[in-house]
């Protein structure tokens, strides 16, 4: 056991930190979101304007920096660390899917090196059974379709995942308040594609881990910006952040986030085992709701405005929560895996 980052890990984090300072951050996220608003207001503007709402520059920089492949060149733990960092910086691109899901599509689930060869990104990921908006789908080159046979909890092999190549423009962007560019992917568009050798259930494990890593970084920034604001905001002749009732709620959020972080790291280091992946997703995404509620409630009106950065992270938390069956589904998956598995 060792909870400190190794020198190699620190070097990776430093490198991605430099890149994120240059290419990401709340201002960039707000600017990209505004592009979307402008496009709404100005519908007959030049075709493909929505391209701008996805951070292609960041996506490219991460790919060129070798970060997409870090699960193979180092391990999934480093991939989780970087995913968290990208989310913390408000990165608006499909890095988590590339680094933690696509990188683990090996023939042999125990061997991430045995892969299908590189899949051109951005990659969006969706459940076959659903019928709604999908993060990043309007900008993706590939859609990874996972069948959960109507039940994200089913254990054992439940068939293989499929990969669908997307022509530009086939997926329509859809307007959303939840911080990510989204595309509407009707159920009919989730059919066909190339069958991968990786089974669905295994990909769901990695997907759960990816969601948890994203949620962790996102929650941390939401808390940071709230703590910073409440440390200077004064009412009733004192700093709001000095009220014990306020401090306790922020401290509770911190406990939740900290647990999400270490559960994520451990799960990544262990290669996203089924129960562990369901556990970390269930924990992190439950914490996400609490962090959203508390950060907004304690920030008051300013938290809802574009002038304050909180929304860059807070709204995303709810998008992460709705993916892949939601918290109740993740929790039930724990029960299935731990107490109802075939070993019983």
């Amino acid at each position: 056991m060792d909870f400190d980052t190794s020198e190699e890990q620190q070097a990776v984090l430093d490198a991605v930190g430099v890149l994120l300072d240059r290419h990401a951050g709340p201002k960039r996220a707000i600017q990209l979101a505004r592009e979307l608003a402008n496009e709404d207001a100005n519908e007959d503007s030049n075709e493909g304007a929505h391209e701008d709402t996805y951070d292609h520059a960041l996506d490219r920089a991460l790919a060129e920096g070798g970060f997409n492949d870090i699960a193979r060149s180092m391990s999934s733990l480093e991939a989780a660390l970087v995913t968290e960092a990208v989310a913390k910086a408000g990165g608006r691109c499909a890095f988590a899917t590339a680094a933690l899901v696509a990188a683990n599509l090996g023939d042999d689930p125990n061997d991430p090196h045995d892969s299908h060869g590189p899949i051109e990104g951005p990659i969006a990921i969706a459940l076959r059974s659903e019928d709604g908006p999908v993060r990043f789908a309007a900008h993706a080159k590939h859609l990874l379709v996972i069948s959960n046979a109507g039940n994200a909890n089913s254990a054992g092999n439940n068939g293989n995942a499929h990969l669908i190549a997307l022509e530009p423009g086939v997926i329509e962007p859809v307007s959303s308040n939840f911080g990510y560019p989204m595309g509407l992917v009707p159920n009919a568009m989730r059919r066909g594609g190339r069958a991968l050798t990786q089974e669905n259930a295994r990909i769901i494990d990695w997907w759960r881990l990816a969601l948890a890593a994203e949620a962790t970084g996102t929650m941390q920034s939401a808390l940071d910006v709230t703590v910073e604001y409440l440390s200077r905001r004064r009412q009733f002749g004192r700093t709001i952040g000095s009220f014990q009732a306020v401090q306790h709620r922020l401290a509770e959020c911190f406990v939740q986030i900290e647990a999400a972080r270490w559960l994520t790291y451990e799960c990544a280091a262990q290669g996203a085992p089924r129960e562990g992946a369901a556990t970390v997703a269930a924990h992190a995404l439950a914490a996400a709701a609490r962090v959203f509620t508390e950060t907004h409630q304690l920030s008051g009106a300013i938290g809802f405005t574009h002038e304050h950065d909180l929304h860059v992270w807070s709204m995303r938390l709810h998008a992460l929560r709705t993916e892949l069956g939601g918290v109740a589904g993740h929790r039930r998956a724990i029960a299935h895996s731990r107490w109802m598995g075939p070993q019983r």
Partner: protein, 381 residues
Amino acid sequence: MQFEWTADDKRFREELARFLDETLPADWDELSKEGPGSDAQAEFSKVFCRRLAERGWLTPHWPSAYGGRDATPWQHAVLSEEMWSRGEPRGPQYMNVNWIGPTIMEFGSDEQKALHLPAISEGRVLWCQGFSEPEAGSDLVALRTAAERDGDDYVINGTKIWTSYANHADYCFLLARTEPESKRHKGISVLLVPMNTPGIELREIPSVVGHRYFHEVFFTDARVPASCRLGPENEGWAVVSHALQYERVGAPRYARAARTLDRLADYARENGTLDDPTIQEKLGHARTMCEAARLLSYKVIDQRAKGLPPSADTNVARVAGTTVDRAVGELALEICGENALADGSFADANFRMSMTAGVAVGATEIQLNLIASRILRLPKE
């Protein structure tokens, strides 16, 4: 960063588990329901701890100079987890081995070491902790119990409260004010007081938690020799702070909670409710809390293993640990339904055991205060 147990640690855990399987009596579940402070468990601990000691497993984390095996903090954690997940067969003695003994090693005279350490490491003695008072709970430094110097003796007057195990204890690790009129952290000393000292009286405080769980301990002109003092006079707060460092990980409540959850799942399976998705969701939710608390505790152990000073991560781990303890206690009532209402049922016992979580050993609110100030750096008023 890595999250693997070493082969040694794994082997140690397996050996411990095997030993527990072999050693715990058939009626252990029944016996352990009332928690480490019950008469039955305190008695049993004397037999059990001796057997542990024979194998060197009562104090493996102690230095070899004091009969230990210099085991790592990680192995100490394995020991604690295995014990708590079985309902703590060491009874009150977990306190002795975890922090009372090590504190005596640090501050004790040769005489004190010779008297107390073998007794502890051989499992022969029970201790209680005399900290809280009626007017000094969360605010411990408000304590008033006085130990007045009289020649070579101290004469103790005052009241301690919420003292677990006092009815079984041979000694009390007592905090008292040795400098009259002193305030807060100053003027406090630690005394190692034999519980058979004349002038000490007990009152059991009936409670919903369990029989003989809480006590009030009255000191009326109780006279002990000055040689009972641990560490320098009036510098007791430093001794306690040091002692609390050993306690920084705290009891692995999550290990017991995880075991309880597994048994609740068994119960649900046997009663045909495990297929109910709402039950699955609740069990899964509680399991996330166990795992959260486990990792947050590991982070503290990691710091301890590296010899780092205590940090507010301890408080984080404690909040998570008490949260899961309470949540699982409540879930037990829910899953067992009306069967939980029978006095002494599995669920009833678990719920009552969990009730003091987050109240004892520094209320959750105090932990949150410390997280707010030390980690989040929120302003003081």
